[in-house]
Amino acid sequence: MLAEIVISALLVIAGVFGLVGSYGLLKLPGTMSRLHAPTKSSTMGVGGVLLASMAYFAVFMDHWSFHELMITLFLFLTAPITCHFIAKAHIHREERPENLPPTGTDAGWATFDEAADPAETKGN
């Protein structure tokens, strides 16, 4: 009984966060602001479902399932990278170097400053 309540609560929380993430995608102004909603809320949304799934298999099916942990791991690895790709594409298409804050170093931002690519200067 208690397990059922915990599992349902996790599912509902996950659903709410998933919904808020999608709503944020719709509501927030601008590409960069829109990136924030799905990268954060979706992790909680998916994480909640996965925790519920683990708890369900452990309590009702009597076996431990580690697939959910792997999905969480892959999600945590891929979410920032996808986000970075979108941000970089956005900078290429919509931003000018003048609109970004100064780097505070001699080189410019990597997206615009091709000459000073550290990988190339090091000779790799």
Partner: protein
């Protein structure tokens, strides 16, 4: 010799554990096959990852993992509150430059990932010399505060782990 077979021992260990978890059972066959992959994959990718990251303290890695996990939960609530209750006009998105003290590529990658997963910030670009990171804040009335928080909360810990 050992270094030739295991260019990245932690990667080998992680691959074996991930393989066992994907199989969802602990069996000898699974462990052996996991070990085969754990040895071949680092060997095949060693050319693209020549340096071996030095990890100074495993307990600090675990502590950092749980700190970030907790911050991700907090980040979800923060962003959900901003999305639901903050009027669009009051939102102050901002670009922030964070000067980096970290030099290890692995540490900078981890820092960028952490910034993206935690409250209201997304890392967007790196300066061409790798000494500053460009961060977009969803709502930052005080951008200097964001810089000090990221530097003291995450960068200092990563520096202890990697450098």
């Amino acid at each position: 010799m050992m270094r030739k077979i295991f260019p990245h021992p932690y990667l080998t260990l992680t691959l074996v554990l991930v393989w066992l978890a994907l199989m969802n059972s602990i069996s000898l066959g699974g462990a052996v096959f996991g070990l085969i992959m754990g040895i071949t994959i680092p060997l095949m990718t060693a050319a693209y990852w020549p340096d071996r990251p030095r990890i100074n303290s495993l307990p600090k890695v675990v502590a950092y993992f749980f700190l970030v996990l907790w911050d991700i939960v907090v980040a979800n609530f923060t962003v959900a509150r901003i999305v639901l209750f903050m009027p669009k006009a009051k939102l102050q998105p901002a670009w922030v430059t964070i000067p980096l003290d970290l030099r290890t590529p692995e540490a900078i990658t981890l820092l960028a990932g952490t910034i993206t997963m935690t409250p209201g910030t997304v890392s967007a670009d790196l300066s061409a010399d790798g000494r500053a990171i460009l961060v977009h804040c969803l709502h930052a009335p005080d951008s200097a505060g964001v810089v000090t928080e990221i530097k003291s909360r995450y960068e200092a810990r990563l520096k202890e782990i990697f450098e």
